[in-house]
């Protein structure tokens, strides 16, 4: 079983990956149509 700190780090990694995806998509849509 994961301990709390490990779980927290994993959660932050997941969230940062998703946030990066969101920003990349937003930028890509605008740049593609520039």
């Amino acid at each position: 079983m994961k301990d709390d700190a490990e779980r927290r780090r994993a959660a932050i990694r997941t969230a940062l990956f998703l946030l990066a995806t969101v920003i990349a998509l937003f930028v890509a849509v605008i740049v593609k149509n520039w």
Partner: protein, 526 residues
């Protein structure tokens, strides 16, 4: 699912601020879920009043009640309010309440961000509704805000664009929170393929949101710069392409349809096994069907724009891809029916709404397949046939599932049983008046009545009159729901922990009402 947990009810730590501060500063998933649900109900009534004004105007041919400009503002805002204000936040409310309890987690992964996700919504709603009072009024080009109309409108459009940005940010934060919670905070032993279907459908929905919300944000940002900063993304006179907006919008817009229906599938997949007293038939095929629908939903967007002009190969691709979605959807309908087959069924209100959902959503699915066929779509494009189709999917689909889910979990949320008799009245009145409103719209559409028009030719008068009577009946029926919910919150028979004998998911191992903090020690799933 067998679960063991040493959660001690007597030691539930429910210390929290009281009064307004409890709600403003809450980081508790149950409080935030409650706020989402009430917010969505208020927006449902707001959008409903707009719908009734539209139907009052359409009761007879001619212009009676509102002027055409205001009529167009009403149809536009009705769509935006119902989609972004009512249906989506309602499902996020369900996710907030249920996902942590169903996976045995104490709360959402990012509790403070959860608070912020919700509290972005009221200002966005105020901006959107406030656009009615802006010079030039609210946006009036339809909820799809196509240019060139949306580039030419008054500042109400800027307010709507800003509102869409804020609601999009709220949705993105909410979906990141849900994905992170599900992937990282499941109780020991709860593998992905042991998760309740509602959690699975929300996981997939949240991924869809992460994929398409930034695309919508990009589209409306370009619209905003076209309107205010002299760019020409969608301005044909400046070398831009208005049809490109349609492609980008529908790349968001079609998955959005599934964002509004996949959690409904999840709710129905929880209700039916409970009241059929059998495990869900074909659990893994349900998961794969949900994922297939989500993937296919990203490659069918241009079926919304067959009349905008595209090569025949494009039409064929989007037509066949769209029809392909009927396969995983059929798997789901088959599995729900097979779950009920030879089950010990009882027909409490949640089950009635779930069965009503299966009947009417399937009907809406069939008319969707009709619309997918290019030569037919060219005939029915922008007619009342399309209005009938998507209201069967979104009202008797998404909304009926929301009602079913609300009745199903109200005892867990409030600790009281709701009034079963009134619940059944709510269902049957909704069922009757919904069909009275929208079934006849198929005939209107096939006869050629266009959507978003305040006046119509005389031959459409009878069916419009029937539809308007149905709409007022449906609207008033929802007051029964409000009464049942308020009565349930105020009191009633005490609900037991295991309210429904056939319910198997983790939340039913908690007392009713669920304690303010649950599963501080994770349960162990065998």
């Amino acid at each position: 699912m067998a679960a063991v947990h040493d959660h001690d009810v007597a030691h539930a730590h429910d210390h929290h601020p009281t009064g307004l501060m409890r709600w403003l500063t809450s980081t508790n998933h149950k409080d935030i879920g409650t706020m989402y649900l009430w917010f969505s109900f208020i927006m449902f009534l707001t959008g409903g009043v707009m719908a009734l004004t539209i139907r009052a105007e359409l009761f007879q041919p001619g212009i009676q009640i509102v002027n055409p400009e205001f009529f167009n503002q009403l149809t536009t805002l009705h769509g935006l309010v119902m989609i972004f204000g009512a249906i989506m936040p309602a499902f996020v409310g369900f996710a907030n309440w249920q996902v942590p309890m169903m996976i045995g987690a104490p709360d959402m992964a990012f509790a403070r961000m959860n608070n912020w996700s919700f509290w972005l919504l009221p200002p966005a709603a105020l901006l959107l509704l406030g656009s009615f009072f802006a010079p030039g009024g609210a946006p009036a080009g339809g909820w799809t805000i196509y240019p060139p109309l949306s580039v030419q409108m008054g500042m109400g459009m800027d307010m709507a664009i800003f509102a869409i940005h804020i609601m999009g940010a709220s949705s993105i934060m909410g979906s990141i929170n849900i994905i992170t919670t599900i992937l990282n905070m499941r109780a020991p032993g709860m593998t992905l393929m042991k998760m309740p279907l509602f959690v699975w459908t929300w996981l997939i929905t949240a991924y869809l949101l992460v994929l398409v919300m930034p695309v919508l944000a990009g589209a409306v940002t370009m619209l905003l710069t076209d309107r205010n900063f002299g760019t020409n993304f969608f301005n044909a006179a400046g070398g831009g392409d208005p049809v490109m907006f349609q492609h980008i919008f529908w790349f968001f817009g079609h998955p959005e349809v599934y964002i509004m229906i996949l959690p409904a599938f999840g709710i129905v997949s929880e209700i039916i096994p409970t009241f059929a007293r059998k495990p869900l038939f074909g659990y893994s095929s349900m998961v794969y069907a949900t994922a297939s629908i989500a993937i296919l939903s990203c490659i069918v967007w241009a079926h919304h724009m067959f009349t905008a002009g595209m090569p025949v190969t494009g039409q064929l691709f989007f037509m066949y891809a769209t029809m392909l979605i009927a396969v995983p959807t059929g798997v789901k309908v088959f599995n729900w029916t097979a779950t009920m087959w030879r089950g010990s069924m009882t027909f409490e209100t949640p089950m009635l709404f779930a069965i009503g959902f299966i009947f009417l959503f399937t009907l809406g699915g069939f008319s969707g397949v009709v619309c997918a066929i290019v030569p037919i779509d060219i005939q029915v494009q922008d007619t009342y046939y399309v209005i009938a189709h998507f209201h069967y999917v979104l009202v008797s689909g998404a909304l009926f599932a929301i009602f079913g889910g609300a009745y199903y979990w109200l005892p867990k949320w409030t600790g009281h049983m709701y009034d079963e008799t009134l619940g059944k009245w709510h269902f049957w009145l909704s069922m009757f008046f919904f069909n009275l409103t929208f079934f006849v719209q198929h005939f209107l559409g096939l006869a050629g009545m266009p959507r978003r028009i305040p006046d119509y030719a005389l031959q459409f008068a009878d069916f419009n009159m029937i539809s308007s009577i149905g709409a007022f009946g449906f609207g008033l029926s929802q007051l029964v729901f409000l009464y049942v919910v308020l009565k349930c919150i105020r009191g009633g028979a005490k609900a037991t922990a295991q309210t429904w004998e056939g319910a198997k998911t983790l939340e039913w191992t908690l007392p009713s009402p669920a304690p303010y903090h649950s599963f501080e020690t994770p349960p162990v799933i065998r």
